[in-house]
Amino acid sequence: MDIARLRRLGSGAIPVALLSLLLLLSLFLMSAATQNSEQFGRLYMLLLVINLAGLVALLLLITSNLLRLRRQYRNRATGSRLTVRLMVMFVVLALAPVSLVYYFSLGFIQRGIDSWFDVRVERTLEDALELSRASLETRSRELMKRTEQMGEKLKFVDEPSLPRLLDELRISESASELTLFMGGGHVVASSSDNPVDIVPNLPNESVIRQVRQSGSGYVSLDPLSDDGLYVRAVVELPAATPLVDARFLQALYPISDRVSVLAGSVESAYTQYQQLLLLRDPLKNSFTLMLSLVLLLGVLMAVWLAFFSARRFVTPVRVLAIGTRAVAAGDYTKRLPMHSGDELGFLVESFNDMTRKIGHAQDEARDSQHQAEQERAYLWAVLARLSSGVLTLDMRRTVYTVNVAAGHILGVESKACIGYELDEIVERYEYLKNFANVITPHLTGSGSEAKREGKGDWREEVIFYGAKGRQVLMCGGAALPGDGGYVIVFDDVTNLVQAQRDAAWGEVARRLAHEIKNPLTPIQLSAERLRHKYLKLMPAEDAVVLDKSTHTIVQQVEVMKEMVQAFSEYARTPKLERCPLELNHLIDEVLDLYRHNRFGVTIRTSLQQGLPQVSADSGRMRQLLHNLIKNALEAMDGGDATISITTRAFSERGVSMVELQIADNGPGIPDELLENIFEPYVTAKPKGSGLGLAIVKKIVEEHSGVIWAENLETGACMTIRLPTVQSDLEETAAAEIEEAEIAAISFKQQQQGGEKA
């Protein structure tokens, strides 16, 4: 049998019933015992012990229950407060009537027992006893006299004749026994009316001593249990001679039956009354003790039953409380055991019903959440593999999702952007300012407002100089339905635009060559032929004109040819042959051509050692340098012209770059031209094709680089930035890592979404 079962048995209804039955039985026996004094005597002590043991057992039970309740109360166990309240209520309800009954019962016992006693009865009994005594004493004195007379007769009788004389005297004096004996107890002669009594009933030594000392006789009433009352008279028979011991005569006279019976009844009545008087207080105490025991038993039983019933009553409530807590903690699988068919049972059933329904709802919610998660993961997988960048922002312009392509295009870590506001991101990546400026005006109003106002999707081109150089993005966006925020989709069309432009310029160049360059040769040939044929024939004056005119035609055609040639140079897009290149090395080579001071210019170089390699076409880069230096030389109008060339490597936001600066001390670029100095045919110089800087810009862009022009205090300055070889490699690696992180990001977002829900 395990402990739990034992405990259940210990607190169940059966032991309660058994114990109550036992105690009730003992109480019944006790009350029966008080009715019958004989049984009372036999059972009293036993019952007392049993009841006291029962009391102790009950006390122990109650104490353990109380301790348990106190512990539960301290631990704030469910239902303990209610149990305490019920307990107190039950106990008070039980104590009040019991105390009243106890108080009055005590009074009844006191008065009931007191009413048995009466001073007059006591007095009367004493008087009766005294009367009996007086009457018997009178009789005794008479018999004493007769004994003394017998003594006189026997004083001088010889020993042999004594038995006969004693018999005669005994019969004549109607004594039951006559004995003559010596002081030491030696019987001289004896006569008895009962022949069976061989041994005479002698007085004890103290009587003999008393007789001897007083010299007179001794008389007393002796109660002999079998034979009723006797009068015992003893007299001394003085010895005839001093040599002989004195002898004593004892006579026993029976008291007549009637007197004996009367005296006996008076005596027993008196004794009984005296006993009763003596036992008055102990009796009261006994009854009071009994009553107190009964009360204590009753009260303790009531307390225990209070415990029992309070616990039974509270059990369903406690179960309900525990169930409620479980539900509050999110456990909807808890089913409470049914206890009864009453209202509490109904409550428990309703609770079970409720938790079952909540549990179902919870399961459904979990299913749909799971579905949503799957859909989200699907969406993320699609987004991750999209070549277009996708960016979503919430209503407060906080970045919600960024796919890999978006991070790649914008040159940002997509992971690091999620959860940040657009402005914060722009602070971190300043080159995105242009991008932000373009999209910000579209980030107003919710999807529903946009729908209402008829504002649909928008499309715009963005050009900015990012980590990968100049980039052209085609952005499109829309407000998401409801308050879902905004979605922005963009493609990097840099290469596309470049290709389109190249194709356009190529077409122009081809047309020019076809439409312009082709007729030029016949024009030139015709002009030369005119000159050759008619110059000799013409008069001198006309010949001068002709010579001049044809010369002009030929010269201008030549210029035109050159122009077309330069233009087709610009429009031509030879395939780039990129390979790792030491920029410093190339610069040294190119500058060698200009170091002979043929142009009267000073060239200063400040080249950083150990510059990282750039991936570039060396021929195109050479052309770029030539063009820039030539442009600088042309810009300066003689004097002590100085060109300073600087290279340095630097890293910006994880992108490693090489920077090349070419500065002159010329007049600088006019402000109105600064904006589009790199466009074809924009030039501040009187001569030149206007394509030099355009070609430079083209080459830089072909190498994913950035170029800009600015006016310093000393003169104009061109700055070129080119990505290094490593930077390219790093970018691809970063992209791969990002792809792997997509899942993690999407998971995090789901969680956030879940929490918000």
Partner: protein
């Protein structure tokens, strides 16, 4: 309401334990066995003893009110064993009833074992007679081995269990009623 409780519960329940233990610890030995003699007559050991009985005032008073007092003389014989507890070979209880006869003002002593009864004019005389045990047959010689060593034990006490019930409870816990001698022991053979 409080007084009856104090009168009943306190002496009975609370004071009970205290007085009981104080009795057991410091009970005045009111009875005293001064000498015991054993004579072998006709293969039966006869015991003669002298016991000094001294009754407390309360006992005397209760007796004068007509309540008989029973005095018990417990006699035991044990065989002394070396490694085990002593074995009981004989045991007897001699009971005497002492009562006061109000009508004749005599004290009656009844030997409850034999039924013989004697009356005495004074309590002292009655107690003296009660305290003089002469030739009481206690042990058959057959029960004793020659080699064995025996211990005789004797004690005199008032039997509280014979008192009327209401008195008994008080007597159990009252030093006035706790009257007994120490166990008097002697060895056999001498």
């Amino acid at each position: 309401m409080l007084r009856p409780i104090l009168h009943s519960i306190l002496p009975c329940a609370v004071g009970a334990l205290f007085s009981f233990f104080s009795n057991a610890l410091s009970a005045a030995e009111r009875f005293d066995i001064s000498q015991v003699k054993l004579d072998l007559v006709d293969k039966v050991y006869l015991l003669s003893a002298s016991i000094d009985y001294e009754l407390s005032d309360e006992v005397v008073e209760v007796m004068h009110k007509g309540v008989p007092v029973v005095v018990v003389l417990d006699i035991e014989f044990l065989r002394s064993r070396k490694y085990l507890w002593d074995e009981e070979i004989a045991q007897l209880a001699q009971r005497y009833r002492l009562e006061y006869h109000a009508l004749t003002r005599q004290y009656l002593v009844t030997n409850l074992n034999s039924g013989s009864q004697h009356s005495f004019p004074t309590l002292e005389v009655a107690l003296t007679l009660l305290g003089t045990v002469v030739d009481l047959p206690v042990l058959d010689e057959k029960l004793l081995d020659e080699q064995g060593r025996y211990i005789g034990l004797m004690r005199a006490s008032v039997d509280v269990a014979e008192l009327p019930t209401p008195l008994r409870l008080r007597a159990y816990f009252s030093s006035d009623w706790h009257m007994t001698s120490e166990w008097y022991s002697w060895t056999l053979p001498d």
